[in-house]
């Protein structure tokens, strides 16, 4: 007995909002635009909550057929939705955080031009993200995948008159294309070998296969290609370069798309495809390695960044790395757990950062902030909650999820664990660095230029209540979000990951769940590992306190002593420049030489020009037919008619 959930309403509500605002919004008042956007988004959230209330009555996985889409031979891809525990968590995260950020955006964007456009895009994003989450086949998921890419592009380039924003949008789009390419090839392989893209069918057909333990095979290839797609969308090495640039977009966008939801789509997709990865240990290992490296790599870059949003962006990449690391050790539920808590605290951090930026009038450089603690207390306290959560202090949300990931990683390899702990230390360090630089010490902003102009001091103000309310809610979630406990969370998600996990490569999670006794034996070692991780976080806090609160001159000394390495970190390891020389410049040169000068000018243009010249020359000779003499024209007609008659007679008598 399964009630009809009308899942299709959930994505379509934001689409309706996007359509109304996009088509007619320019004539509406700001109040009307925001109430439409909030109304439809809130309705989607309410729908999601209602789905939760009905959840116990469902026989999972629940799927809902909406309309036929592509049917060719045996292949079939429909507009159909799929709901299981995994989708439900994602659904709640997307609609809940999305709704909060919508509320926040009303306050944040109130003064901006293109208000209706912003909310139309935001609702559009919600539509695609929900489609992605609820899709019951890879193709519909891909539609959502591309759709969120589009929304992301539109929103990064929201201030499209600003050159950097426009190019950042293009960069995000193009880098994502590389990932999508891999994703698409993976889809083609799936169609070729399994004849379907529907999750249920594909997994059903893969289940009987053996893990490709010695060496690599088809599933490994598919897994790697899927990982390429995930790396593009979720900003993993080597395709992470777009995410920091994406900070050109409005801050709520950074919070919603580039921290809380869209970038986790890759994690979701890998978790969703766990059946494939379970049977492709090579691919899984690649996922783990990429995740671990990304976590470390971007954390080191984050240490040296001065732009408050850039720090958060690298932090996001780093946390995503954690999630992939978890996926890579087959701890999918840990990964999704971290995804959820990360959505809370990273959304919170971005929103709080937005509030800070709002307060200081658009300044993003942390070196020009400081001492804001007393001036914007609400922002400060919520940000504090977020900072402690991401640093992994007990009892904040980040602690539970990160701890789970590290523990799961340690069961596979202590290398992952070691790097993870070190990254946790770095995370703690740069987050508290941000915290101290922003909220403690003396204000170093405009005051320097204006010599303590009290007017500017007074200009620093707390954000409106509309912006603070989401902050408070998210702060509460950041604090409490982890108390649900990784164990319970894992048990909740287990049906989704148990399905078809029969022959896992690592047999870790299965064993753990299969025999709780065994797990108890490991509790002692887990406690030890937890203590180490907590220590790393505390060390990060202490170092940050030392360097950025007590002795502010220390960082420069250290930087000087590190020399070239510090330069490299500040310049993000020169990855952008490397890409520019390796890919962008050759591509530009090739386009210029071959495509533009070679093909476009010498072939296409030449064809058109020569065609025109030829036509004119032929016309020059033929125009003498146009004698102006009526009877000549009649003569031509007679000849033509004779030709037609002859042709018809010939055709008819043949």
């Amino acid at each position: 007995m399964t009630p009809n959930l009308h899942l299709w309403l959930i994505p379509l509500l934001p689409l309706a909002g996007a359509a109304i605002n996009g088509l007619f919004g320019s004539r509406f008042s700001r109040r009307a635009v925001s109430s439409i956007a909030l109304g439809f988004c809130g309705a989607a959230f309410a729908m999601a909550l209602w789905v939760v209330s009905q959840f116990s009555a469902l026989s999972l996985p629940y799927s809902e057929y909406f309309a036929p889409w592509i049917r060719a031979g045996n292949f079939q891809a429909d507009f159909a939705f799929y709901l299981d525990q995994l989708s439900l968590v994602m659904l709640l995260v997307v609609t809940g955080v999305g709704f909060l950020i919508h509320i926040y955006s009303v306050g944040y964007m109130w003064e901006e031009g293109g208000f209706y456009r912003f909310f139309s895009y935001l609702n559009l994003f919600m539509f695609f993200m929900l489609t992605l989450v609820l899709a019951n086949n890879y193709l519909l998921l891909f539609i959502g995948w591309e759709g969120v890419g589009l929304a992301s592009y539109l929103l990064i380039g929201f201030w499209f008159t600003k050159d950097s924003a426009a190019s950042a949008g293009k960069k995000a789009f193009i880098v994502n294309r590389i990932g999508d390419f891999g994703f698409l090839i993976a889809l083609f392989l799936l169609i070729k070998h399994f004849g379907s893209l529907t999750f249920v069918q594909v997994f059903h057909r893969i289940e009987p296969l053996r893990p490709e333990t010695p060496g690599a095979g088809l599933l490994t290839a598919i897994g790697l290609l899927l990982m390429v797609g995930a790396a593009g969308k979720s900003a993993q090495i080597p395709l992470y370069v777009w995410l920091p640039d994406a900070m050109e977009g409005p801050t709520p966008v950074s919070a919603l798309i580039h921290a809380a939801t869209m970038v986790t789509a890759g994690v979701y997709m890998v978790a969703r495809s766990h059946v494939i990865f379970d049977r492709a240990p090579m691919a899984l290992m690649v996922v783990a390695i990429v995740g671990t490296l990304t976590a470390l790599f971007s954390a080191t870059i984050g240490v040296a960044q001065t732009d408050i949003k850039k720090v958060l962006a690298y932090s996001t990449i780093s946390q995503l790395g954690y999630m992939f690391m978890a996926c890579g050790v087959a701890a999918y539920s840990a990964s999704i757990f971290h995804l959820m808590t990360h959505a809370f605290f990273k959304g919170l951090l971005f929103l709080a950062a937005g509030s800070v930026i709002h307060a200081v009038g658009g300044e993003q450089d942390m070196r020009k902030m400081g001492g804001l603690r007393t001036k914007i207390p609400w922002t400060f306290w919520t940000m504090t909650a977020g900072t402690f959560a991401i640093a992994g202090f007990w009892p904040f949300a980040g602690f539970f999820s990160k701890d789970e990931i590290l523990w799961q990683a340690s069961r596979v390899s202590f290398v992952y664990w070691g790097i993870g702990v070190f990254t946790a230390f770095l995370t703690s360090f740069y987050m508290f660095r941000l915290w101290f630089l922003t909220f403690f010490g003396e204000y170093r902003g405009e005051a320097k230029a204006a010599h303590g102009d009290s007017q500017h001091q007074a200009g620093i103000h707390e954000s409106p209540k509309l912006m603070l309310a989401p902050l408070v809610i998210l702060a509460a979630l950041s604090v409490c979000g982890g108390w649900v406990g990784s164990f319970r969370f894992e048990r909740f998600l287990s049906p989704a990951f148990q399905a078809g996990a029969g022959a896992s490569a690592y047999d870790v999670s299965t064993n753990a769940l299969a025999s709780p006794n065994e797990r108890k034996e490991e509790v002692s070692s887990e406690t030890l590992l937890t203590a180490v991780a907590l220590g790393a976080a505390a060390l990060g806090l202490y170092l940050a306190f030392l360097m950025y609160y007590q002795r502010p001159q220390l960082p420069d000394q250290i930087a000087a002593s590190l020399g070239g390495f510090y330069d490299a970190v500040v310049h993000k390891y020169y990855v952008d420049d490397l890409y520019a020389t390796l890919f962008v410049k050759p591509l530009l040169d090739a386009s210029t030489r071959i495509l533009w000068q070679g093909i476009d000018r010498d072939v296409i243009d030449a064809a058109v020009d020569n065609g025109a010249d030829g036509a004119r020359e032929i016309s020059d000779s033929v125009r003498h037919m146009q004698s102006g003499n009526l009877r000549s024209y009649a003569g031509w007609i007679a000849v033509g008619a004779a030709g037609v008659i002859a042709y018809m007679v010939w055709m008819g008598t043949r």
């Binding site: 003498h624 003499n629 009526l630 009877r631």
Partner: protein, 100 residues
């Protein structure tokens, strides 16, 4: 009993005469008359085919051809009058500005 193809050939001959008139005549009115001759040839084939298929639609079509011919004659003759008024000639070889 007469084979219907005789009627059709007669209509073809009339049509051919019309075409020839169009080709060799210089007087614009005569050319117009040639057009009417062609229309008449076509009409005969309409009536003949109507007899062939036992469908009166063929005869009805003749009326439409006649009406169109009447309209054409009215406008055409008006044009001829206008041309004659401005160019003082009815010779189509002298009305050849529309070239190159």
């Amino acid at each position: 009993m007469v084979p219907l193809s005789y009627y059709l050939i007669l209509s073809g001959i009339l049509f051919a005469c019309g075409v020839t008139g169009f080709l060799i005549k210089r007087n614009i009115i005569t050319i117009f008359l040639s057009i009417e001759l062609m229309l008449n040839g076509a009409n005969l084939s309409f009536v003949a085919f109507a007899a062939q298929w036992h469908a009166l639609s063929g005869q009805v079509f003749v009326f439409f051809v006649m009406v169109v011919a009447a309209a054409e004659a009215a406008v055409g003759l008006a044009i001829i009058i206008a041309v004659f008024r401005t160019r003082e000639t009815l010779n189509v070889d002298r009305v050849n500005l529309l070239k190159l």
